[in-house]
Amino acid sequence: MILTLCRRYRMFLVLFGVNIALLFLEPSVGRTAFAVTGANVLEMLSFLPPIFILLGLLDVWVDRETMMKYMGQGSGARGMLLAFILGSAAAGPLYAAFPMAGVMMKKGASMLNVFIFIGAWSTTKIPLIMFETATLGFRFMALRLVFNIAGIFLIAFILENDVRRHPAPAPREKEI
């Protein structure tokens, strides 16, 4: 039990060890690293619980037929729009989006929509856009937004095309 725990967390333990070593070798860098990590862990713990509860609810309540109808193959522009809105309304960094995308794939959402969701989550989150306007100005924000939206769809189309030619292995059940 403890052994499996150690194995699962070995990467974390190694990095944690590096950080402790830094405390002795380069005290100021080590301290900053711990402070940044601490702040990030707190931030993560603040937004992850609702995301994972939503993920659980999605998994239990939305059946395969519904997901396929709204976001599956042939859901067309409506499915793309839905994926885009869901991604943009999210909170949290991109890595929190991957488990969500995993459930969507398992339930039969098309890869195109999954990657639009991922793209929207990464760059067009609404609170972040408002923040960007405040810090960097409207012109910068608007131009980057236009470019990024075009990029999101372009990348999603290319990836979907590739999946068709090289079918992806189904995501491992245990990860989801």
């Binding site: 699962r8 995308a101 590739d162």
Partner: protein, 158 residues
């Protein structure tokens, strides 16, 4: 603010779910916990790695590397630093604003921000568990390519 909204929506949905079917709700919560516990090791590793990186590459170092007159080499540095690290938006935007005010070009700043948000080498192993290696690598490579092209164009336009 958005986190509060997220909690509110989640609480409402959870309440609806609970009133409709207790057993299913318990199942959903169990699934939520299991998914969370499954990727917790990777999340924690990512966070410690980001902490160390941000401590080494502090604001002054990044500003110096991307600062005034850094030109094409500044673009390259921005792309590399942005792709490796993964910094949450609420740190990234003020950092980008300070880059701009200390003389970095719009192109470098856009490159840094775009790769920061779309490309993540640190999170690639996590992404691979969900999409498979081919898709995860392709997505990052395409996002990187796109960030480079759009930032160069943006740098010329602004």
């Amino acid at each position: 603010m958005s986190t509060a909204a997220l909690y509110l929506i989640t609480a409402l949905l959870l309440l609806c779910s609970f009133r409709k079917d207790r057993r299913k709700t318990r199942q959903a919560l169990k699934k939520a916990w299991k998914s969370f516990e499954n990727i917790l090791p990777q999340f924690l590793s990512i966070l410690v790695l980001i902490g160390i990186m941000l401590a080494v590459l502090d604001r002054e170092t990044i500003t110096r590397l991307l600062g005034a007159e850094s030109g094409a080499s500044g673009m390259a540095v921005a792309a590399v630093v942005g792709s490796v690290t993964l910094i949450p938006g609420f740190i990234a935007f003020p950092l980008a604003a300070s880059l701009l005010s200390s003389g970095a070009g719009y192109g470098q700043t856009a490159m840094f921000l775009t790769t920061l948000m779309m490309v993540g080498l640190v999170t690639l192993p996590l992404e691979t568990t969900f999409f498979g290696k081919r898709l995860a690598v392709m997505r990052n490579a395409l996002a990187f390519l796109y960030a480079v092209i759009s930032s160069v164009v943006l740098g010329v336009l602004l």
